[in-house]
């Protein structure tokens, strides 16, 4: 965890409400500036700029701050607001640029881990699979629901993340990490998330076989019902296991795995094994 900077808001000018909302609006665009070398650096500078303008009175201060914030920064874009909240409190209390940068760099990794698994891989798949299921039945409320619900969630994460970061500084995340709460929360989220993924595999991976077993003469027997009796969704489970084995155990590039699956689908279909 980052070095323990305690933020106390006693000295220094206070930030106005207008500036706060300006930067909250700006936080939506943090990923637009994404570049391969400095990643979200410009997004963070863009978010912090209104505060810097309000609090750094001399040109030298402003230049030093800009030079600091063009440096590398990358985290899950929604939890970035928590880090920026801490930075704002540090700007208000007149902390050094080195200290601000240390906080940014120290927090971005651990927070990205939580943000990715909670937002990208648990909440969004749940909301969007409900929405997509409705859309497939021709219900226009599906995308509207998914969009509205996801916006609600991400604004809550952004707004309150930033507020907590601003008000409590690194104290919050340190208490969180020291008490072991961070690991507990991550585990709980993963447990729910992986249950959902299990259901997604059974529901939305489609693979079946049109094979017909011919014993002597006569109609023959379709193979898929036999497989279903053995275990429903056996082929989707095997397909996912194959992808997992290639991606995680063999460290194959995802692009290549997608190509392999396309080939598998085409060849299997041509050979009459898969449908």
């Amino acid at each position: 965890m980052a070095s323990g900077v305690q933020v106390t808001k006693k000295s220094g000018p206070k930030t106005t409400k207008d500036t706060w909302w300006t930067q909250f609006w700006r936080s939506q665009f943090i990923y637009a500036w994404f570049s391969f070398d400095k990643m979200e650096a410009m997004g963070a500078l863009y978010m912090l700029y209104p505060f810097m303008k309000e609090h750094y009175k001399t040109k030298e201060e402003m230049i030093a701050a800009c030079q600091n914030h063009v440096q590398f920064f990358n985290t899950q874009p929604y939890v970035a607001n928590f880090i920026i909240g801490i930075c704002i409190a540090m700007i208000e209390t007149g902390q050094s640029q080195e200290a601000i940068n240390a906080i940014k760099v120290g927090l971005m990794g651990p927070l990205a881990g939580i943000g990715d698994s909670l937002l990208w891989f648990t909440i969004r798949p749940i909301l969007f699979s409900v929405g997509a299921g409705m859309a497939l039945q021709g219900n226009v409320l599906g995308p509207i629901f998914a969009f509205a619900a996801f916006f609600f969630v991400h604004w809550i994460v952004r707004y309150h993340g930033e507020r907590i970061g601003y008000e409590q500084g690194t104290k919050f995340i340190e208490r969180f990490a020291e008490s072991g709460m961070m690991d507990e929360v991550t585990l709980a989220i993963s447990m729910v998330g992986i249950t959902v993924v299990g259901c997604l595999i059974a529901t939305w991976v489609s693979a079946s076989t049109p094979l017909v077993l011919k014993a002597g003469e006569g109609e023959g027997m379709a193979f898929q019902p036999v497989l279903d009796m053995l275990m429903p969704k056996l082929l989707p489970a095997l397909a996912t296991f194959l992808a997992f084995w290639l991606l995680v155990k063999k460290r194959v590039n995802p692009m290549i795995v997608i190509f392999i699956f396309m080939l598998l689908g085409i060849l299997g279909s041509v050979a009459g094994v898969l449908a």
Partner: protein, 249 residues
């Protein structure tokens, strides 16, 4: 057709403005909006929903995305609407386009580094006013780039795409459909790889069994997942408390 192609481009531009990290870039939303633009909402919903489920687990982690789901969804939905094709053809188009457009996307993201260089030079020179101007110039740049990459293929490409689609033999179309059905497995495997721990296997099994044997909807499975997780944590807290008391006493 011109207006529709431009509007379809704007949907991609909107996604790019938010760095493709907001809901606008998801196939469900983008596909529906394109369907709306072309006056075929039903088809937009069907294609958007199908591609959303197919690419559920595709997300940029640390900036690397395996496939560009936004560009391919918009392109495939627009083409299907213009040419009067269905979901199968759209999926068959979307898969190769997603791989190709991600390569183009990587080139465009590399071009962002030019802006980054510019920002750094100006920050080091201390020219803050110019820095702000460059920051504002980036918005229209990234938006227009997003429009262009959709507009030209959609507006000028219909003839070419139609002849390609007609030239694709029946067996390949069928094969691409089969492949499209299996592709979600890759997305889910990526998600599993992110979260995987041996201790989590029982929960994976639980979710799979509920889906495969009981055909339970995903929201119901989520509730059961939350309930089991809460129980596990409570039981664990209880055991810890008991252990604590016995060592103290």
């Amino acid at each position: 057709m011109l207006i529709q192609a431009l509007l379809a481009g704007c949907i991609n531009g909107l996604g790019r403005l938010f760095g493709n990290q907001m809901a606008f870039d998801r196939p469900l939303i983008a596909g529906t909006l394109v369907g709306l633009v072309y006056g075929n909402l039903t088809l937009g919903l069907a294609i958007g929903g199908t591609l959303e489920l197919m690419w559920m687990g595709v997300e940029g982690i640390g900036g690397a995305r395996p496939a560009n789901v936004t560009v391919s969804t918009i392109f495939a939905t627009a083409m299907a609407c213009v040419l009067g094709k269905g979901v199968t053809e759209a999926v068959a188009m979307a898969v190769p386009v997603s791989l190709l457009s991600q390569v183009i996307d990587n080139v465009m993201t590399s071009a962002n580094s030019f802006f980054q260089r510019r920002f750094e030079t100006l920050a080091n020179k201390g020219d803050i006013d110019a820095l702000v101007k460059w920051v504002w110039a980036f918005y229209p740049y990234t938006f227009i780039l997003g429009v262009i990459i959709i507009f030209f293929p959609v507006y000028y490409g219909t003839g070419a795409v139609e002849s390609v689609l007609n030239a694709v033999p029946e067996w390949l179309m069928k094969g691409l459909g089969t492949a499209g059905g299996m592709l979600p497995a890759v997305g889910f495997a990526m998600v599993l790889g992110m979260m995987y721990k041996v201790e989590l296997l029982p929960m994976l099994l639980l979710g799979f069994a509920l889906g495969a044997y009981l055909n339970m909807p995903i929201l119901g499975v989520t509730f059961i997942g939350i309930a089991v997780t809460a129980l596990v944590f409570w039981i664990r807290a209880y055991i810890r408390q008991q252990g604590g008391e016995s060592t103290n006493g």
